[in-house]
Symmetry: C2
């Protein structure tokens, strides 16, 4: 994307802990944008490989790192974040698929929980590419104690990768990924095993599996190694969602068994409408508007505004806080799509804010 | 593809009953290969549109039709096949997604049941294209009473569309499509409704749905109108498969609830292996090699070799076992792509086999 920083600007520095597919891709995205990146991994062979591939500039914690990304497996994140916080005075974020357990365990204003909703069936640093976050949603889960400056740094950095940043409370994130990621994965695996068993009984006829079945079971081809940690960390939400899915399938069974055509059409029609309104993976709209919101410069104000935007389904493409010197007031600047600005302004006014807006040149 | 038949050859004639997406695509595929195609539909507007688009040459049953394809909705197929048999002395085949109910109802040597495993989220004749069958599996379900000449005509015609023809008993087809098509569809719909409900409760966060969820629910975006007939015609197999899936998901729930890491890894690993051995939708490579492997003719030998091929990512296009008479030895013949043969041979030799190879003419 942008050229490396020229000699006028200080070089920005980051550490990536866990140099697998996601960590490696973050390192590549940072380096493409001029950052100097150091890599840390519990496995020396992985950092060596990352160095050899030019994914990182050096190995080890960079004490000068402005930002450290923790991209270890889910079960190791809490300890890795604590280590990272101890090694630098900078900001630390993670990329784990479950958020409440980590965010609850780390009580530090310099930590911002995160989860890029991007992945691949590939594994390891050899599959790392700088562009996997382009157009992907990157969830951030700041809490009341999060330093607004730390949040803004993480947000602007991952937005520079082309990601759409969505801010969500950690528990809400975990509830949602149970239904859009974890349970679908377990279901794809269950379907795949069922089909495999039946095909074995009936003579290897999985050739009958057409595109729809391939699409549905594609995620089951990923490496299983990450799942025990994820299922353990997000157990309650996964168990609840599996119960709900089982109930829904038992209902489907009754409908089919009774040949209840109208209920079947109703259920499938509802699913179709929901599927067709699934938000598209999108890039920045061409017309953007800056919405400027005077706020009290205090914890909670920032997350109050960004959570409102999320609830209104208004996507924030950029965010900035201007702190007025010697004052408890600040100015929050939000960049949103031109056609969504009025909705956001309406919501903000309803909450007692006094926003103004102007087109972004 | 090929040019229309020249004047030396008689023009081949076909009727397509039901000029929707699949019927229209068959008509286009036939016309591209020089056939004269007549279209029949209960809805005059659809035949007019098919005529206007050049999908068919004329409207109405062609009494001279050598072959009639019935591509109506599943619930109308039996009657439509009977009509077609009454209108011509030629061969009749259908493309319905459920086979036993139709095949059982039609006792005529001129009828061959069929089911192309190709589809699209599109609907109607406007989406019809000649190439949707290229590389797809086309199931045919001849029974004891089927005329061999009728079967050969249908087989060669659909093979000329580029389809891979697979012959299966009707009941076996229905069992398999319940698990690779019907229940996956109902499951995708159930998951989509669940996600939609949860997102509504929690503020429209379906933006968190990444590629895996989109892949899994894509089939739920299709038109629900075809499903009541399919579910009614294949009720027993669908209900049984839903019961099995519910049992599998309840087992997953117990495993997650108990944090039973090794059982979870076992289940997901099994699903992954099955997914990775799902036969690819692909045309056969142009250069094929026969790898001949002498084996002990005993259980486990075959799966040992094919699992090795899978581990080596060598796709097997054809497989045959020659059992030596009066001997415990056999010869396994594997057909693989020419550029993968050496990899397979290397792997086999490393396991103590003595394979030989020769190009397939």
């Amino acid at each position: 994307m942008s050229a490396p920083a020229d000699h006028e600007q200080p070089i920005r520095r980051a550490t990536v802990v866990g140099t697998g597919l996601i960590g490696g891709s973050i390192a590549r995205a940072l380096r493409e944008r001029g950052w100097r990146v150091s890599g840390v991994d519990s496995d020396d062979a992985r950092t060596s490989r990352a160095l050899e591939l030019g994914v990182v500039d050096e190995v080890g914690y960079d004490p000068e790192a402005e930002l450290t990304f923790v991209a270890t497996p889910v079960g190791q994140i809490t300890d890795a974040v604590k280590d990272a916080l101890a090694h630098t005075a900078g900001v630390v974020t993670d990329v784990g698929g479950v958020k409440a357990s980590v965010v609850d365990a780390i009580d530090d204003p310099r930590f911002v929980g995160g989860h890029p909703m991007a992945g691949s069936e590939q594994e390891g640093v050899d599959g790392a590419t700088a562009d996997i976050f382009d157009g992907a949603v990157w969830v951030l889960t700041p809490v009341a104690g999060t330093d607004p400056g730390a949040f803004t740094l993480v947000r602007s950095t991952v937005a520079s990768f082309g990601a759409e940043v969505v801010e969500v409370a950690p528990e809400r994130h975990d509830q949602l990924v149970a239904v859009v990621s974890h349970v679908p994965h377990l279901t794809a695996a269950a379907l795949m095993r069922l089909a495999s068993t039946r095909a074995e009984e009936q003579g290897g006829l999985l050739r009958l599996a057409a595109g729809g079945f391939r699409d549905m079971t594609r995620i089951a081809s990923g490496h299983p190694g990450i799942w025990p940690d994820i299922c353990e960390s997000n157990r309650a939400a996964i168990v609840q969602t599996l119960d709900e899915l089982v109930a829904a399938l038992r209902e489907m069974r009754e409908v089919v068994d009774a040949s209840d055509r109208s209920r079947l059409l109703g259920a499938l029609g509802e699913a179709r409408r929901a599927r067709n309104t699934l938000p598209a993976r999108s890039s920045r709209p061409s017309e953007l508007v800056e919405v400027r919101v005077p706020i009290q410069d205090q914890p909670g104000e920032l997350s109050g505004v960004t959570t409102l935007a999320t609830d209104l389904e208004v996507n924030i493409y950029d965010i900035e806080i201007d702190h007025a010197a010697e004052s408890t007031r600040g100015l929050l600047v939000l960049v949103v799509a031109a056609d969504m600005a009025e909705r956001l302004i309406g919501g903000l006014m309803a909450r007692g804010y006094r926003p103004t807006s102007r087109p972004l040149e």
